[in-house]
């Protein structure tokens, strides 16, 4: 089992992370990677007309607690699906539009486990890991609100043990 979790300011290399998962070898048949990018606008689901140009996104986190929570999430994924490797990288600090912000990579024998686990890890990361985003919009700074759609996405997994 290859598990790698990192909270870091520096950028990551998707190719290098993919290669590392690919080197797992025995039984490997599928790798799913998800990369999250910083959008160049800020919108609010409850205000469909609202859209503002975003210039900078600042990521704060709670050191040590974040890493432990990410480990817990990965451990839960391992109990739900048959996996060979999981990589989670989340960036902190000041980011610009189009910057990479998060990477989740999952390796497994069959694609279903990797697809499901990658989505599960992202859904739980967004609703449980101690990160907070501050957006710089129109020359002003504002902490972003949690989205109900993210809570709903995470809640989907609550009553699904394994499928």
């Amino acid at each position: 089992m290859s598990i790698s979790i990192s909270v870091q300011a520096k950028d990551f290399d998707l190719g290098a992370e993919y290669d590392r998962l690919r080197s797992i070898g025995d039984g490997l048949g599928a790798i799913v990677t998800f990369t999250g990018l910083v959008r160049d606008f800020e919108s609010r689901p409850e205000e469909p007309q609202y859209s503002r140009k975003l210039t900078t996104l600042t990521l704060q986190h709670y050191p040590e607690m974040t890493e432990r929570l990410l480990s817990d999430i990965v451990e839960q994924a391992l109990t739900r699906w048959s996996l060979l490797g999981v990589t989670v990288i989340h960036r902190i600090g000041s980011l610009s539009p189009n910057d990479q912000i998060v990477l989740v990579g999952v390796a497994s024998t069959h694609r279903h486990d990797a697809f499901q686990a990658a989505e599960f890890v992202m859904d739980y990361l967004k609703t449980r890991a101690t990160f907070w985003k501050k957006a710089h919009v129109d020359g002003q700074e504002q902490w972003l609100d949690a989205k109900r759609s993210d809570a709903n996405a995470a809640a989907r997994w609550d009553d699904i043990k394994h499928d």
């Binding site: 709670y62 607690m65 989340h90 992202m122 990361l125 609100d145 949690a146």
Partner: protein, 83 residues
């Protein structure tokens, strides 16, 4: 000594607060701290009282009536927005 951490928007509201506080028995739960803060920082206490705000002690999520001890690190956590 108790050490306080305020994350996200709570940090802005808590900017004037001394983050290290001598341990007192009357501040022996996060709830007591929240109520005590209301005297000087009513806006912060209002935010802390939102049901989605969580509290942790020594980096473990706890209930608001969790007992505190000298040396504890208490963090106030607004809804997370990572990913």
């Amino acid at each position: 000594m108790l050490n306080f951490l305020f994350f996200g928007r709570l940090g802005d509201l808590a900017s004037g607060i001394d983050k290290a506080h001598p341990y007192h028995i009357d501040l022996a739960t996060p709830l007591a701290i929240r109520n005590k803060l209301a005297e000087q920082h009513p806006l912060l206490t209002k935010e802390l009282s939102e049901p989605q705000v969580l509290v942790s002690v020594n980096k473990m999520i706890v209930k608001w009536d969790h007992p505190l001890f000298d040396g504890d690190e208490i963090a106030f956590l607004p809804p997370v927005t990572g990913g």
